[in-house]
Symmetry: C2
Subunit: 320 residues, 2 copies
C-alpha cells in the first residue's frame, strides 16, 4: 500500500495500516518537499517519484481533499494504479465515478471511490434499509461532530477569538423517529448547533450571542446554543475531532407491523475512522484487481467479505 | 419467485413480495395437501409439481426449518433451481455450504444460504466491525425476543398453564460495552430472562416461582424475573413474535482513541423481518445467476447493491 497525501487522513491511514495483519506500507508520497513531511515512521517520497515504485505498490490510498485534489488525482492515478479514495461531495459522485471508471477500465485497474463512513458505511445502511423494508422512511443524523464551515463562520464575528461548532442530532427528532411515527423531518429539524466561543478582551458578549443566533442560514434556522468559555477550557476540551451519527430505517413489513433498523457510529476521531474504512476497502481493491474485476467501484459493488483479511471459509466458520 | 414451505416464514415472504416493485410470486409449493394450505392469496401447488413450473421460476425462496428441512432440501433443490434459504444452525454452516455449493456448481445455479438477520445482517456487522477496527471486541446481544425453548421449559412445570419467555439484553452489560471498557462477557452475562406465566387454578405460586428461578441451565445461571399474569393479559399482550438485538464493535484506531460501531434491530415480527431479508437476497440471487456467478453464496459474497431494485447508477446518485 502507498499513501498519497499526508494530512489528518494520511496519518490515520499510516496508523490503521499498522494494525492490519496482512498489509504493508511502502511509503507516503507527497507534493510537498519530502523532508518537510513528518510521518509516524513511514518513509516519504516526492509524488513525482510514484511511478518508480510501481512494482512494489498494489494499491494507492488517496488522502487528498474532495474539493480540488481528488477530482483531478483519482482519474489521473487510476490510469496507472489500483486505488481507493474517500471522495465525499455527494452531488458530484456520478460525475467523479464516470471519469474514474473510464480511466480505470482503459488501464485495467480497480478504483474504489467514496469509501469512508458517509459516503460509505452510512450509504450501505441507507441501501439495506430501503431494499429490505421498501415500505418506510430512512433518516440520517450526523453528530455529535465538529463542523468546519460553521466554526469558520463563528470566527468571522468581530470579538470572537477562538470558536468551534458541533452539530448534534436533536434528541426530540431521534425519539420521534425511534417511536416509529415516521415524521417528515428536514435536516434542520433533525439537528441542533452547539457553539463554544472564546471572546477577545472587552468584547460585547450579549451582542456576539445575538449575532450568532440570528446569523442567516448558518444558525438562525436551528436551535442554537452558545457557550462562552475560557481559552484554557478551549485548549483542554475542544481539540479533538469527534464525529458520528445514525442511520435509522423505520418501516413496516405488513400494515402496522413496525420494524426498525439502526446503525450508529460514535467516533473519537473522524479522520482516524475514515482511514480505517479506507484501509479495509484498499484490501478489497487489491483482491478485485487481482481477480480481474476492473473499473470504478463503490461500496455497493463490493462483496463485504473482501474487506476482511480472513478467507471466505474462515468467515463462514467464525463470524456467520 | 416461488415459496417452498408455508409457515410463519412463508407467509412473511408472501407479504414481503407484495411490497417489492420488481418481483412476482408464481406460487407456494407445499408438502401438504394444497387444499389445506390457506395463503394470503397466492396459488398453492404440491411440492411434487415444482419441476412443471421450472420455466416460470427464477428463484425459490425456501421457508423450511433448519433442523430437518433445509439440510436435505437446499442441496437437493439447488441441483435444479437458483434459490435462497435462511439456514441458521451456526455450527453446521460450513457443512451445509459445502453440500449446497457442490450441487449448485454442478447444476450451474446460484444458492444463497443463511440469509436473514442472524445469520445474515448481524454476521455482516460482525465482519465490518472486525475488518475496520481490528483492535477491539465485538458483542452480539439478542432480544428483546421470544425464546421458544425456554417457553417450553416453563410450560413443563406442574401448575403452569400458559407461559412465554423473553430474552432481554442486560442494560448493565450494554452500558459497560457502550462505555468503551471492552469487558469480557459471556452470553449469560449479556442477557436476562423475563417469564410471563398463567397458573392453573389452585397452583402454588411461590413453589412455581422457585422452580423457575432455580431450573438449571435454563434459568438458574441468569438474572430471571417471573411475572404471574392472567389469561386475559396473556392473550392480549403476549401473542406477538418480537425480536431484535444489537451488534456492537468497540475498538480503537490508535492507542486510547475509542471508536464504536453499533447495529440495532427492533423487530415487531421476527419471521416477517427474516422474510424481508430473504426477499432482498432472492433478488440478488436472480442477478447473480443471470450473470453466471454460480455456486453457494453467503451474505459475505454478495455485493450489497444487488439487493436493491435500483440500478447501480441510481444507487450512486440517490443513496451514496
Amino acid at each position: 500500500m502507498a499513501i498519497v497525501g499526508y494530512g489528518n487522513l494520511g496519518k490515520g491511514v499510516e496508523t490503521a495500516l499498522g494494525l492490519a495483519p496482512d498489509l504493508e506500507l511502502v511509503g507516503v508520497f507527497s507534493r510537498r518537499d519530502p523532508l518537510s513531511v513528518a510521518t509516524l515512521g513511514a518513509p516519504v517520497f516526492a509524488l513525482s517519484e510514484l511511478d518508480e515504485s510501481r512494482d512494489d505498490i498494489d494499491v494507492l490510498i488517496l488522502c487528498g481533499g474532495s474539493k480540488s485534489d481528488l477530482p483531478v488525482q483519482t482519474p489521473e492515478l487510476a490510469s496507472r494504479f489500483t486505488l481507493v479514495d474517500s471522495f465525499d461531495t455527494h452531488a458530484k459522485i456520478p460525475e467523479h465515478f464516470a471519469a474514474v471508471d473510464q480511466a480505470a477500465r482503459a488501464a485495467g485497474t480497480t478504483a474504489v471511490i467514496s469509501s469512508g463512513w458517509d459516503p460509505g458505511l452510512f450509504s450501505l445502511q441507507r441501501m439495506f434499509g430501503e431494499a429490505i423494508l421498501p415500505e418506510g422512511r430512512t433518516y440520517t443524523f450526523w453528530g455529535q461532530g465538529l463542523s468546519q464551515g460553521h466554526s469558520d463562520a463563528l470566527r468571522r464575528i468581530d470579538g470572537v477569538r477562538l470558536a468551534v461548532q458541533y452539530t448534534i442530532p436533536s434528541e426530540e427528532a431521534i425519539e420521534q423517529v425511534r417511536s416509529g411515527s415516521r415524521p417528515e423531518l428536514t435536516a434542520r429539524q433533525q439537528h441542533v448547533r452547539d457553539c463554544y466561543v472564546v471572546l477577545e478582551e472587552g468584547a460585547d458578549e450579549a451582542a456576539i450571542r445575538e449575532a450568532i443566533v440570528t446569523m442567516p442560514d448558518y444558525f438562525e434556522p436551528y436551535d442554537t446554543t452558545v457557550h462562552v468559555i475560557t481559552e484554557e477550557v478551549f485548549e483542554r476540551d475542544h481539540q479533538g475531532m469527534p464525529h458520528g451519527g445514525f442511520v435509522i430505517r423505520s418501516g413496516e413489513s405488513s400494515p402496522g407491523m413496525q420494524q426498525t433498523m439502526e446503525f450508529q457510529l460514535t467516533l473519537g476521531s473522524n479522520p482516524e475512522f475514515t482511514s480505517s474504512v479506507l484501509v479495509a476497502y484498499a484490501r478489497a481493491a487489491a483482491k478485485l484487481a487481482r481477480s480481474g474485476d476492473h473499473g470504478a467501484k463503490t461500496v455497493y459493488d463490493i462483496a463485504p467479505g473482501l474487506l476482511s483479511p480472513k478467507s471466505p471459509a474462515q468467515l463462514r466458520a467464525e463470524l456467520l
